[in-house]
Subunit: 378 residues, 2 copies
């Protein structure tokens, strides 16, 4: 009944992104994305949580917002208020929390409230691709601030803010992922947190704190959060069933689940670092991240990791090129991000070996295995 | 650690909507929104579906997109492809379906692909508030097309398209809810569907078909869909657990659940119409909707339903004023939309009685019960 083809070309809005590539399944060795370890999904407990909460409250699914209104399922917000106080030192009420459909929706909401084309923000020079692409699409100037082993360089933040002030520009926010930074895995020191807050007040620039991986720290200890919150959500609520099941599960099991997961993740990180040391030797530089699911790696300058990614994909290995995770192309050009949570231990070892072969073939590094200098463990 | 107050006033983006009102719980008699009947939520079967799918595939929750990629959980898309073919005559593959976080996200995606500020679209004069407010916020001209008992007036569509052509304007789409229209409950006739498609091809204007309530038809029979589809979703996927449970449930139970739900809804509609006839007499005009969860009512011209809504809320009755569901304020001024699915049968009767009292107090109509002329049943 519908016409077989309709030409949409004259109708598209301006400045659309290119069409998405068709998904062709998972590569054999998948080091991309923020996926986690399938072995650690607490399936039995999720089943029990789903059964319990549906039996008790399932009929409330008839109503948008359940019986909780537009901020999200109340028991989930209450769990979070308690958890944030306990782990991050954030004192807030359940009604100061908004449940969103993923952190990307939260980014969109904050950006929607604060940003207009031509605005300026400060962002870690190496940061979350999702945040970087959104700023680019919004036409916002993202001033990249370097990081070191203790996270965001607050001296560089101070210099950037002074420079903007001289030019009559007020940044709309400082976006930071201070606790298990993505992609570097660093943790912003307490001293720098205080310094960042001081700069925020002095220059009247709010801090947009993203605490995505803050629960996944090897030693389980984290500094208090910087914290800030905002909202203008125009949908009819985030997934209701998921909020109910999550709240039910977390109320009983969050505090034992997280340490167990974290131990498993640490073990996989060790496997990845050993494999890189064995296969790449001194060609691969990285610091031990303090937690999380990612390792941020620097290869020799001769290596273009975007080209490496294309060649590796043909061999079944998927990696995230550093260019997509940096405010400056040149900085990210020889870097790559590897997610170690999702692939199995064996896949990690094999995948890294294949990656080394591809890299050698394309760029001449690392040298052959017998000649690989062993990287001294940090 | 964070400063006690931070002045955001100088930082807000331009043209923000006003802050949302704080949610204060449900009114005693809630006729607003698209909520459904709590008694018809198939709780036991949802529990069984959740248990089964988690046991079988729960560990895939570790991966964004499960094992299905970015279009959404494959078994859900496969169920939908089969269901759309069977019920709506739509021939499409699972890979031509994108699962979104509610229909509002779908609206946002289509609008994002096609619309720029200053564009023009055609829309039913009485339509979905969510669609109307989005178009207003986007700065798009929404040309309202009248409806009658057979839905969208295609002669008026033809006239509007000719008029736009004379003015050198091409509409970006014709947005229609042809099968159980929101708010009127009408169904676009087959003849008009063919006519609309012909106009679409002639003027090269696509049809944006919204089939939200098309499954909830009293006699279970519906005309084939008009159908069209598009996507540029930048989040990490819609709620995974919900898609899994929904697919599991629907595979076994969709075809018996829907007729049962529909019978219950029809009974509630009868209750509402009887209550309106009893309390409002000829002051309340409405046509029998062919299905769905809403009744669209016209009160005498002297009644301003936005003021009525405010007064009624104070008395515990919530209604949707027609102004929010019309392209023209004047047209919607004395109309209101009532959702009959969510309140109980008793709440429907009591709520309508309270509403009539409030209306009489504020506007002098309807006359007192003893004097109410009985409305002839259509």
């Amino acid at each position: 009944m519908a016409s077989a083809s309709f030409d949409f070309a004259p109708l598209w809005a301006p400045s659309l992104p290119p069409p998405a590539a068709k998904w062709t399944g998972f590569p054999k060795y998948n080091f991309t994305g923020g996926n986690n370890d399938a072995d650690h999904v607490p399936v039995d407990r999720l089943m029990a949580a789903a059964t319990a909460v549906l039996a008790r409250e399932g009929s409330t699914l008839a109503t948008y917002g359940l019986e909780s209104g537009p901020l999200g399922y109340r028991p989930l917000r209450e769990f979070l208020a308690g958890k944030l106080k306990r782990t991050a030192g954030i004192a807030c009420t359940a009604d100061e929390i908004l449940i969103t459909s993923g952190s990307l929706q939260a980014l969109d909401l904050v950006n929607g409230a604060l940003l207009a084309r031509g605005d300026t923000v400060l962002i870690e020079q190496e940061s979350y691709q999702g945040a970087l692409t959104r700023l680019a699409r919004l036409g916002v100037n993202a001033v990249g601030i370097p990081l070191d082993r203790d996270g965001l360089r607050t001296d560089a933040v101070a210099a950037a803010l002074d420079d903007l002030k001289r030019r009559g520009i007020r940044a709309k926010y400082i976006y930071t992922i201070p606790t298990v930074q993505n992609p570097t895995g660093t943790i912003l020191s307490e001293q720098r947190r205080h310094e960042l807050l001081r700069l925020s007040e002095q220059h009247h620039v709010p801090i947009f704190e993203d605490d995505c991986y803050a629960d996944l720290i090897w030693d389980g200890r984290r500094p208090a959060a910087l914290y800030a919150i905002l909202a203008l959500k125009t949908d009819a609520g985030s997934g209701a069933l998921e909020q109910m099941v999550l709240a039910e599960f977390c109320a009983s099991h969050f505090t034992d689940h997280v340490p167990r997961l974290t131990r498993g993740l640490r073990a996989k990180l060790e496997t990845l670092m050993e494999a890189l040391a064995e296969q790449f030797g001194t060609s691969a530089e990285f610091d031990d991240p303090k937690g999380g699911i990612f390792l941020w790696v620097k290869l020799p300058d001769a290596v273009d990791t975007q080209k490496l990614a294309q060649a590796a994909l043909a061999a079944g290995v998927a990696i995230n090129p550093g260019r997509d995770w940096s405010t400056q192309e040149a900085y990210g050009k020889s870097r790559l991000r590897l997610c170690f949570a999702n692939p199995s231990t064996q896949a990690i070892r094999e995948g890294v070996a294949v990656l080394a072969d591809v890299c050698r073939r394309e760029f001449g590094v690392p040298q052959r295995i017998a000649n690989v200098e062993r990287r001294a463990r940090a």
